[in-house]
């Protein structure tokens, strides 16, 4: 180690301890962001706000939602940063979110902002439904590629389609709720009746259908686009199809928990989460972000995807979730035996 390097390291160490010393505020932030991204997000935030220290509590979407709901009467979190909007709507309907319009919210794509006058939550990035189509297996079976959701009910695909179970997968639920919005209630269920005839099985996770399509276990997997792009980049013979009727989507979003001890620091954090800089940071993992015009194209990502995203009614999805899942389970989960 040269003297210069030594000096640099001790300077860095000093800087770190200085940051810690300056940390006047501490925020408990609940999140479902991938663990590997957390450090990067906190670092970027602390570069501009060294005085606020983030204490992460991370778990999967389902678990962190359940945790927040369980702590309803005694909230432990100050901010929720990076949780599905449908989950945040649940929290909002429990009166757990502090409405706040972060500085610069008008610059975001309005699709990504809560419709209330003072938004209760703001979006970060989106994951979008798509169909993964294994060209090699499909050719072996003599299938023609589908171009729309309706095509998937065609008899030629019988037993060749896999989709996530909406009762256990957020991706599965956004598919079902988007079909009900696209086709309307009656036609939506009729469509799913037809689709059910072709479904080989329902998986528990949302990324599995695409990975199963990538490995040729099934020719067609209903999943999300980013997963398909990743598998394709890994060398799988996949085509990512964006059905012509439009595709459902959900987003990761941010909100302040009502009753936080340090509202000022929480607002500063939320202000940061919608900046251009933050959105560029999200773009590393997500192809669609809330800040228009900055997303760099991700390899193998379908080009027309942004236009195909439906005008998702999150309120409809959240308020009817229990009823939709009950109806879905009654129709398709009960007759379980695929002999």
């Amino acid at each position: 180690m040269t003297i210069f390097q030594k000096a640099m390291t001790s300077a860095a160490a000093l800087a770190i301890s200085a940051t810690a010393a300056f940390a006047e505020a501490e925020l408990t932030v609940y999140t479902a962001i991938e663990a590997e991204d957390l450090a990067r997000y906190a670092e970027t935030f602390n570069a501009s706000h060294p005085d606020i220290k983030i204490n992460w509590v991370r778990d999967s979407t389902g678990v962190i939602t359940a945790k927040l709901l369980a702590e309803r009467d005694n909230p432990q979190a100050d901010v929720v940063w990076g949780l599905a909007a449908t989950s945040l709507l649940l929290l909002k309907s429990e009166g757990m979110l502090e409405a706040y319009a972060p500085a610069g919210v008008e610059k975001l794509d309005p699709k990504f902002v809560d419709k209330d006058e003072t938004p209760a939550w703001v979006g970060m990035d989106a994951w979008v439904a798509s169909v993964c189509y294994n060209t090699v297996e499909a050719e072996k079976l003599g299938l023609t590629p589908p171009t729309s959701w309706k095509d998937l009910t065609n008899a030629q695909y019988k037993g060749h389609v896999i989709m996530p179970n909406p009762a256990s997968s957020g991706t599965g639920f956004l598919d079902v709720s988007s079909w009900l919005q696209i086709f309307g209630e009656d036609d939506g269920w009729a469509f799913m009746d037809g689709l059910h005839e072709n479904i080989a099985r329902y998986t528990h996770s949302g990324s599995a259908p695409c990975k199963l399509a990538a490995s040729g276990e099934i020719p067609i997997g209903v999943s999300f686009a980013f997963r398909g792009a990743k598998s394709k980049a890994a060398g799988a013979p996949l085509e990512i199809i964006v059905p012509s009727e439009g595709v459902g989507w959900d987003m990761e979003a941010t909100a302040i928990v009502a009753g936080t001890d340090d509202l000022e620091a929480a607002q500063k954090l939320v202000d940061f989460t919608i900046t251009k800089e933050a959105n560029e940071m999200y773009n590393v993992g997500y192809a669609v972000v809330a800040y228009p015009g900055i997303a760099k194209p991700v390899e193998h990502f379908p080009a027309n995807l942004l236009d195909a995203m439906i005008d998702n009614d999150f309120e409809f999805a959240a308020n009817n979730r229990a009823a939709i899942l009950k109806e879905w389970a009654g129709r398709y989960d009960g007759k379980s035996d695929p002999k």
Binding site: A208, S215, G216
Partner: protein
């Protein structure tokens, strides 16, 4: 003696054995370990039971509405929604049951509602408990809220919390859920019949023939115990899945469903059935066979009148153990069950998929019943099995019979190929680059850090959990067993302790894990801090596998004469010194057995810990589950085989270590 002297004698104190310091220490320790079991098992189970009765219901009487005329100016008199419902008969009582996430639209109470009409509506809560949403904004005050028709249709009522049988009622009214009972019992029954039959003939071949390689076969038969129950599921995907190597053998049937669950269950329960049955066959009396031969009974008749009756308790016990293992198993049906719903997976779906903890608790209660029943019958049968082997018994010695030996050898080989084949397929799949498109070998699938599930860290966590469970668990369990076996008096306390120690066996892992969430993830619980740490995983695993270890320990301790305690007492030596200087060294073989049992199970268990791991304490077995869940099947197979090799290594280490230690501590056994 005269009356007078009798009167003068004072009434003496009632005579009571004096408690020595040792007795106090031992009782104190027993109370401590009893409290441990109370906190780690009984309280969580109670929390779960009460959760299953916590319901959510819509209370229509908590809301009042007013409707305006066409002009939107004058409003009708306030009317409660329950009165409105009584007039119109829109909803039945059964419609009032909801989940925690339930919502009820209000427009259905107004038959002539149109969202385009200029009619205005007012709604308010009549009590503080009432809650409703306008869109997704919560209103819980008792103020009137005035809305136009278009907004009024976005009003949703929220349920309030109460207690009752509502969850159970809606469970049995939902076929998608209650069908699972039938499914679970069905596959458990079929698997039990198949496994016990196969294991019986395998054990028969090993104990009643003169075939070769018995030791090798015994070793192979025990291999499935070293892997998580998920692994046979993954092997079956590679064998019979849509890209499977042998998929033609199924003639178009799908492996995803009951067929897959049964084949996989046979694989992972085989060693358990084999162990019990071969123990039962080993204690047969050779004289009965000699009698049968001298009475000129045919081998067939001998089989039915001597062999089977001798092994009947073993067979029944094996059947209930297998039944219990299959019905409570979660990993296998999760991987290969397809659309075939079973109870254990339902719990997972309700809790992780829908955050419906109340319904998860209901399914748990439903699952506990058959598990406890099977367990109780097994204990009852085992208590019957005594004294088959008397002092005059002659051990049975099989005689060579070329034809029978060959048939049994071929049969045992088939079973051996089945077991080794399943493991080999997983290892092969783990090493192939991209099945089925690129069959060249690579180590890509071992780059766990690039997959979901926790990476190599999860593997090291598992080893840590295994070691901690083995050390902490063995210490607690053996000491607990010692206190129960060797302390004096205190009968009630010992009986209660014994009951607590037997209970974990009857509680399925999924149920235990869920109960831990309810109990430990409660901010009011002072032990809340251990939630999400390695400590809760260790505690849960020790408790989950308490019973078998406890039984092993008590069996070993019962072989030691109680005179040791009397001698040490007369020499005025503290009992704990005796425990450390005599009891532990003498029982060392059993102590080592307990620790390897705990280690292996901590490495393979999925069901109990699946609800309790946190991102920093992910485990190898959970990683297998999550990687398979995400569709990364080959890495899942690779991680599963890592568990296998680790456990096999631990077994070998255990063997060598116990040889070394035993030769030093057990020399007194051979004079």
């Amino acid at each position: 003696m005269t009356d007078a002297t009798q009167h003068t004698l004072p009434a003496g104190p009632s005579i009571k054995g004096k408690l020595s310091r040792d007795d106090i220490i031992m009782r104190g320790s027993m109370v401590v370990i009893g409290l441990y079991l109370l906190i780690t098992m009984v309280f969580p189970l109670y929390a779960m039971l009460s959760k299953s009765f916590s319901t959510f219901q819509f209370d229509l009487s908590a809301y009042e509405v007013q409707v305006s005329d066409e002009a939107g100016a004058t409003f009708s008199n306030p009317i409660r929604l329950n009165d409105l419902n009584e007039q119109l008969k829109v909803l039945e009582d059964s419609d009032m049951i909801a989940g925690s996430d339930g919502r009820l639209g209000v427009t259905q109470f107004f038959p002539d509602f149109s969202f385009r009409s200029p009619v205005k509506y007012r709604i308010r809560n009549t009590t503080d408990e009432g809650r409703f949403l306008v869109g997704s904004t919560l209103t819980d005050s008792t103020e009137w809220v005035e809305l136009d028709s278009n907004t009024f249709r976005r009003v949703q009522l929220r349920p309030v919390k109460s207690t009752g049988f509502g969850n159970f009622r809606s469970y049995f009214a939902t076929p998608a859920l209650s069908n699972s009972i039938k499914n679970s019992v069905l596959i458990a029954t079929i698997s039990t019949i198949v496994t016990v039959t196969l294991a019986f003939w395998f054990a028969f071949a090993l104990s009643r023939s003169c075939m070769r390689f018995k030791g090798l076969f015994r070793l192979i038969a025990m291999a499935p115990i070293l892997v998580p129950s998920l692994l046979p599921g993954i092997a079956l995907v590679y064998l019979f899945g849509n890209q499977g190597m042998l998929k033609e053998l199924l003639f178009g049937a799908s492996i995803y469903g009951p067929i897959g669950i049964v084949i996989g269950s046979v694989f992972f329960t085989f060693p358990h059935a084999f162990l019990i049955i071969s123990t039962a066959l080993a204690i047969s009396d050779g004289r009965l066979y000699e009698a049968a031969t001298s009475l000129r009974a045919t081998p067939w008749r001998t089989f039915w009148t001597v062999t089977i009756p001798g092994a009947r308790y073993g067979l029944v016990s094996a059947a209930f153990v297998v039944f219990n293992l299959v019905i409570t198993d979660f990993g296998l049906p999760k991987v290969i069950g397809g659309q075939f719903n079973v109870l254990a997976v339902d719990i997972y779906k309700q809790v992780i998929g829908q955050q419906n903890f109340e319904m998860g608790a209901v399914v748990s209660v439903v699952l506990v019943l058959p598990a406890i029943l099977a367990f109780a019958i097994d204990r009852f049968v085992q208590s019957k099995q005594v004294a088959l082997l008397s002092a005059r018994s002659v051990p049975y010695q099989p005689k060579p019979n070329k034809k029978a030996d060959w048939i049994l050898f071929s049969y045992a080989s088939l079973i051996g190929i089945f077991i080794i084949g399943m493991l080999a397929v997983c290892q092969f799949a783990a090493l192939v680059k991209f099945w089925p498109y690129d069959l060249s070998f690579s180590l890509n699938n071992y780059q766990f850090d690039r997959m979901d599930g926790g990476g190599w860290g999860a593997y090291y966590n598992s080893i840590k959990l295994g070691l901690l469970t083995a050390i902490v668990g063995t210490a607690i369990i053996f000491f607990g067993a010692y206190l129960v076996e060797k302390s004096n008096g205190f009968k009630t306390g010992r009986a209660i302790f014994q009951m607590f120690a037997m209970l974990p066996m009857a509680i399925p892992g999924m149920v235990l894990g869920l109960a831990y969430i309810f109990f430990f993830n409660n901010p009011a619980n002072p032990l809340h801090a251990i939630y999400g740490t390695m400590a809760i995983l260790v505690v849960c695993t020790v408790t989950h596998f308490y019973t078998v270890s406890h039984l092993t320990a008590t069996t070993a301790l019962q072989q030691m004469d109680r005179e040791f305690e009397s001698v040490s007492a007369s020499l005025k030596q503290p009992t704990l010194k005796l425990f450390g200087r005599v009891t532990v060294p003498v029982c060392l073989p059993s102590i080592l057995d307990i620790s390897i049992y705990l280690f292996v199970n901590a490495m393979t268990t999925v069901s109990a810990v699946v609800f309790l791991y946190s991102p920093t304490t992910s485990l190898a077995s959970i990683a297998v589950l999550n990687m398979d869940d995400a569709g990364d099947i080959a890495p899942a197979a690779a991680m599963g085989m890592m568990i296998f090799y680790t456990n096999a290594g631990a077994r070998i280490f255990h063997l060598i270590a116990s040889r070394g230690i035993l030769s030093r501590t057990q020399a007194w056994r051979n004079r």
